[in-house]
């Protein structure tokens, strides 16, 4: 049950690789400029976020504003959404999030390493009413340790707060798990009631922003990290966990 220990330390792996420089433009325009002929203010920077967790914990719901079942059943595309671009504004910055939902790829080793490598933020979700989804967390942490950038912000989310009567995992258990992992934040949410859902993304982005020096932010702007087709590589069998060192 114990997550792989992450100890704050000086070591840092290099960035996740694959960052080709592109022709991004800086964003010097004043906020809310509405003058005619002026192009819209581009995003200040872009961040990749992935949502992982066991099957049925509500990953996809966290990406949606509406959870109106009748609608989503009737009108949603049946092929499923691969990823979304969402824009948030925080502390005067306009941030484009590229959010990857990994629903349908829940087997621990079926999510390509490309997803993890390029993620600046990782949202790890379990269902507070299903003990087994909480017990799966260490396995997900192994994948994060193996593939994700050291700098990636981690947020643990206990979802389905609307099903309080069926709760199997206490808030304290969730908190305790997150505390054992350096830099991991924790919150509970209800995608159904839209409780804490926006906050999840804002919290994550806020953490990423805080750690990001200004010059790096400029770089982020010009890096479109994940192409539309993540490499289809299947990660090999899990090797012994790498030395679990993670910087906060």
């Amino acid at each position: 049950m114990n997550p792989p220990g992450r100890v704050a330390g000086p070591q840092r792996r290099g960035p996740g690789g694959g960052n080709g420089a592109g022709g991004g433009s800086p964003a010097p325009l004043g906020a809310q400029s509405r003058r005619r002929k002026q192009p819209p203010r581009p995003a200040d920077f872009k961040l990749q976020v992935i949502i992982i967790g066991s099957r049925g914990v509500g990953k996809t719901s966290l990406m949606e504003r509406f959870t109106d079942d009748t609608f989503s059943e009737a009108c949603k595309s049946t092929v499923g959404v691969d990823f979304k671009i969402k824009t948030v504004e925080l502390r005067g910055k306009k941030i484009r999030l590229q959010i990857w939902d990994t629903a349908g790829q829940e087997r621990f080793n079926s999510i390509t390493s490309a997803y993890y490598r390029s993620a600046k933020g990782i949202i790890l979700v379990y269902d507070i009413t299903k003990k087994e989804t909480f017990e799966d967390l260490p396995k997900w942490m192994k994948m994060i340790d193996k593939y994700a950038s050291e700098e990636a912000e981690l947020l643990l989310v206990g979802n389905k707060l609307d099903c309080e009567v069926d709760r199997e995992i206490t808030r304290q258990q969730g908190e305790k798990f997150a505390q054992q992992i350096t830099g991991m934040r924790f919150c509970e949410s209800s995608a159904k009631d839209n409780f804490n859902v926006d906050e999840i993304f804002l919290k994550l982005v806020d953490d990423i922003l805080k750690k990001m020096p200004l010059d790096l932010m400029r770089n982020e702007l010009s890096n479109s990290i994940l192409s539309l087709q993540p490499e289809p590589e299947i990660p090999p069998e899990l090797p012994p966990p790498r030395p679990s060192v993670r910087c906060c």
Binding site: K37, Q38, P39, P40, P42, A43, K46, M63, E64, R65, F66, F71, S72, E73, A74, C75, K76, S77, T78, V79, G80, V81, D82, F83, K84, I85, K86, T87, R96, Q98, S224, S227, L228, Q229
Partner: protein, 120 residues
Amino acid sequence: MESDSGLVSPAGNNMKAVLCQRCASKVLLPGSARYCRRELFLPSMKKKNALVADGSPDGDMLTDHWLVDDMYTFENVGFTKDIGNIKYLVCADCEIGPIGWHCLEDKKSFYVALERVKHE
């Protein structure tokens, strides 16, 4: 949907914001896309199984589109999984769609059909 209906600027850009017809989620800011004519087939928005990969889906041949060359130009948008070499664009919030079209062979073209969105 004619180009002179107050949607397209003299420079060929969208004068109004492009929004989801259903939930008004913001897809594109004014001025961020270019008007473009091209015949593209988009599966129907109403039929539940319109997007199923096999068989011939119901849909419309649409010619009026907003074109952007970088997916990060979008304020909010969703991309479906690949259907052949196509990814359809859907609303990022309510996932209604397809509202647009992207071919994986042309990484610099993202189309949003004027008929599938509202303008404000």
